[in-house]
């Protein structure tokens, strides 16, 4: 619903005072969405995956910059392996690398921590904390505990 794909049954979702369904593409200039289906293509390698997914959101990423980001994500040396040879956790790291590039205000993260080890979760936490420090908003749907250091956090416990 927050993604604007599903119309809410009642009420409306507003961003900057305007209904997101009437904002259309303008809304997505402010949003980065990462779902549980991570959208990493098996046939492309990590580098191509990252550069293509950034290009689709309108950011041209140079090769060396993409390489350094992937290295930050703990994928050094695996940049040019086809993604089908990567483990599920590594693929997810490739998808997460997009967060380090984008400069949107709102992050919608849906179950991004499945099949991730402890160090990767720490990585996500630092990415989110940095994002919040920069004045961004992150909405995170998760089953795991994640403590984020931030000025304001809001916690919604839905039915377990």
């Amino acid at each position: 619903m927050l993604c604007g794909l599903l119309p809410p049954a009642e009420g409306e979702v507003k961003w900057d005072g305007a209904n997101i369904r009437s904002l259309g593409e303008d809304y997505f200039t402010d949003v980065t969405y990462l779902g549980h289906a991570h959208g990493v293509k098996d046939e492309l390698n990590a580098l191509e995956n990252l550069r293509v997914s950034c290009a689709l959101t309108g950011i041209e990423l140079r090769k060396d910059r993409a390489r350094s980001i992937l290295a930050d994500m703990g994928l050094k040396g695996r940049e040019t392996l086809p993604a089908r040879l990567l483990s599920e956790g590594q693929k997810r790291r490739v998808a997460l690398a997009r967060l380090a590039v984008c400069n949107t205000r709102l992050w919608l993260l849906d179950e991004v921590m499945t099949s991730l080890d402890r160090s990767a979760v720490a990585l996500i936490r630092s990415l989110i904390e940095q994002h919040l420090l920069d004045g961004g908003i992150a909405i995170l749907a998760t089953h795991q505990e994640l403590e984020v250091a931030a000025e304001s956090t809001m916690r919604l416990e839905l039915a377990t």
Binding site: C3, G4, L5, L6, P7, E25, D26, F28, T29, V31, Y33, G35, H36, A37, H38, G39, V40, K41, E43, L44, E48, R51, V52, S53, A55, L56, T57, G58, P82
Partner: protein, 219 residues
């Protein structure tokens, strides 16, 4: 952006070239079966050639339609594409363009070689290529509407054929008609103009319809 999208889809097609090749071989085999089964009656072969090549092209392009959105839908890429600041119209156009380049262009290249089996003159073969060049984009464009509508449904491949094949009829009539006219020694221009009109029309409206269908399928 469009450049990246087309590059990505072509790259994916290249790394999975077996899919593309199977479409091409399907086309080659279907067209070749007719001369083999009918025998060496030049007159008859020449008369059925336009229809056979065009129907085979329609069927072959049906094979690749299922892949247009389905893979991206399954791994979540489509979801992300819908949520980019790019107009969906352009994304659809890019994907259709890549599909056309990967799946239809090989057919256009192979068609004159196959037409030679039917004893067509070189002028007719040229007309055949021109009509395919004009007509196959329509197949991809209209096909994309069907592919988007049936996204995520069971037995979507059969459903796509049922939805889309009737819509291909105008292309079939004008395309095969032009080649027919050329065989008879008449002017082919009216048919080619009409085919061009169909192409232009679907170029404008099909991506828009596909975008709407995608939004419905993703809800």
């Amino acid at each position: 952006m469009l450049r990246w999208l087309v590059w990505r889809d072509l790259m994916l097609a290249w790394r999975r070239r077996a899919d593309v090749l199977s479409t091409l071989f399907f086309f080659v085999i279907v067209v070749s079966l007719f001369p083999l089964s009918i025998g060496p009656e030049t007159q008859l072969l020449r008369a059925i050639a336009p229809g056979v090549v065009w129907v085979a092209a329609l069927l072959a392009s049906m094979l690749s339609l299922g892949r247009l959105f389905a893979n991206d839908y399954q791994d979540g890429t489509l979801e992300q594409m819908l949520m980019t600041p790019q107009p969906l119209y352009l994304i659809v156009l890019g994907k259709v363009l890549a599909q056309w380049l990967a799946a239809e262009v090989p057919l256009i290249i192979a068609a004159p070689l196959l037409g030679a089996q039917f004893g067509l003159s070189s002028r007719t073969l040229l007309i055949l290529s021109v009509t395919l060049l004009l007509g196959t984009p329509v197949l991809s464009l209209i096909g994309s509407i069907g592919a988007a509508l049936t996204l995520g449904l069971r037995s979507s491949n059969v459903l796509v054929s049922l939805l889309v094949l009737p819509l291909y009829i105008p292309v079939l009539i004008f395309g095969a008609g032009a080649v027919d006219a050329s065989i008879m020694g008449m002017t082919t221009l009216p048919n080619i103009y009409l085919l061009g009109a169909v192409t232009t029309l679907s170029l404008v409206f099909a991506p828009w319809a596909t975008s709407a269908a995608l939004r419905i399928s993703m809800e």
